[in-house]
């Protein structure tokens, strides 16, 4: 499999001088296409900072992030926006849906941002997504009218709508009960298997991480472990 993401010597320093804090220290790793991996670490370990850097939501102090062969660190804000829209899908702990919009509109938002017309193809893709998410019949409901688990499923659907190469999930089940947590992981696994989408899941929960094929552990801003997990799935 080809390299999808290459993080090379990533450093992130907050503040200056004596009050400067090194949140990430020389972190390097590679993620190949189709992987189902996790980044684990305690709160404050730097794992979310790492996710923000590889998700192009933040810029590293030094080091580079190559995504699908492109050096994203050298890109401007516009270029990073384009990669976030076309190449990446985000699933956040707090679903982050747009409360003013319906389920259908939230799902089609990334495609509309990409400039895609609401045509038969997009409608068909959205209906299939609703089917995959188990949310048929919910398309007209406002995002605020859904339960926590349903909201997170819509957020996952939104992340997948532009058929990104990489899904970055930050504590995606942190706010869900056991049943919904299992459902979300089953969904991730199905998408990974059927569509070949790469997953990188950030979690503080080792039980969750044990379900992924590869575990990267971050401690005090350093990548201290990068192991294959043959017991997952």
């Amino acid at each position: 499999m080809a390299d999808l993401l290459v993080a090379d010597a990533l450093e992130k320093v907050y503040g200056e001088g004596a009050s400067a804090t090194r949140a990430l220290k020389n972190v390097s790793f590679t993620v190949k296409e189709g992987e189902f991996a996790s980044i684990v670490g305690q709160s404050g370990s730097g794992k979310s900072t790492l996710l923000n850097l590889i998700g192009l939501l933040d810029a590293p102090t030094s080091g580079t992030v190559l995504f699908a062969g492109e050096n994203t660190t050298a890109m401007g804000r516009k270029g990073r926006s384009r990669v976030r829209n076309e190449g990446l899908g985000f699933v956040f702990q707090f679903h982050h849906l747009l409360p003013e919009f319906s389920v259908w509109e939230n799902l089609t938002m990334p495609a509309q941002i990409a400039g895609q017309a609401i045509d038969a193809e997009l409608r068909d893709r959205t209906l299939k997504m609703l089917d995959l998410l188990g949310l048929e019949g919910f398309e007209k409901k406002n995002a605020n009218q859904l339960s926590g688990g349903q909201k997170q499923r819509v957020a996952i659907g939104r992340a997948l709508m532009n058929q990104p190469k990489l899904i970055l999930a930050d504590e995606p089940t942190g706010n869900l009960d056991t049943k919904n947590t299992e459902m979300v992981y089953d969904l991730f696994r199905t998408i990974n298997a059927e569509l070949g989408t790469t997953f990188l899941i950030v979690t503080h929960d080792r039980v969750v991480a044990q379900q992924t094929d590869r575990i990267l552990e971050v401690r005090d801003g350093e990548l201290v472990q990068d192991v294959r997990n043959d017991y997952a799935g």
Binding site: F92, P110, R158
Partner: protein
Amino acid sequence: MLSFKIAARFLKSSPGQSILIMAGIAVGIATQIFVGSLITSLKADLVDSAVGSSAHITLQAVNDGATVTGDMAADAAASEDVISTAVPVRTLSGIYVNGDDSVPLSITGGNAEKLDTIYGLSRRMAEGSFRLNEGEAVVGTVFAETYDVRPGDELDILLASGSPATFTVTGVFDLGQAAANERIVFVDAGSAADALQMGDDEYSAVQIQLSDVFASSEVAERLADEFDVEAVDWQAENEQLLTGLTAQSGSSVMIQGFVLVAVALGIASTLAISAVQKTRQIGILKAIGMSDAASGRIFLWQAALLGAGGTLGGIALGFGLIALFSVIPVSFSIRPEPSFVALSAVIGITVAMLSAVIPARSTSRLDPIEVIQNG
């Protein structure tokens, strides 16, 4: 168009706030339309009262006693588009003696139809009819009342040359000015020529009216040069009125300016609040790939929609105020100019758009991480 769609949805999601700000814009635009139209109409009414029924420019021979010709009137009328009418007249003075009382009169002799184009006498007859056959005259209301002169009466005038003249009064006019209604007498062209011993094509002056009264100074200057005559324009003789009108227009522009500033501040503060309220949504949209420019455009569209809605409401409210004003008994009516209303609409939307620049810029600079990290 996605920015437009999101802007419309944001406005729809806070209907109370959107309606309030549109009402604010509407009041501002209505005030602008009402005050602007009121001052313009008042000015037009004052000017019309002052010079609507008189010559805007009078052409006279440079030398005393010399005359001008009827051809000059025709040539002058043809020389400038702004000249609506040019009438050759014979002017002389006389005295009306009634017992111990006497009043000096300003007598204007000319063709009745042509005089009508300047003075509108046929519309302004209070009594009798406007007709000037040989030996006939029309007098003003104040003169008629003071000396009990009625249509059909004989009017004896002692002319400045010392010779007497008698006219038959055919009508009594009201030019809207007491002085004119007391002193001016219109007589037929032939009688005036006889009294002044003028030939058929000899006249004292050419009286001119313009479609744009404020062009009189420039036109008078050009006509004086072209025809080698003395040209007197109304503005030179009514400086005080003009100073008053200028002051009035200036204060109106100031009022309108302050109202617009208040409207702009209102929109800017509301949009700034809206930008803060929607920070989370903007951050999410940016996280999933919306560009800085597109997210900034959301607030420009919001401002455009608020501006357009508020302006439409303001135009309706402005016309409502004008309709309400027409109920009050005053001497003039407000006539809103379509071009001024259109200008107010453009100003309303432009002010709204300018007010959105700051929130649009702060939105376009927003980093999605600020929102995502804070949940």
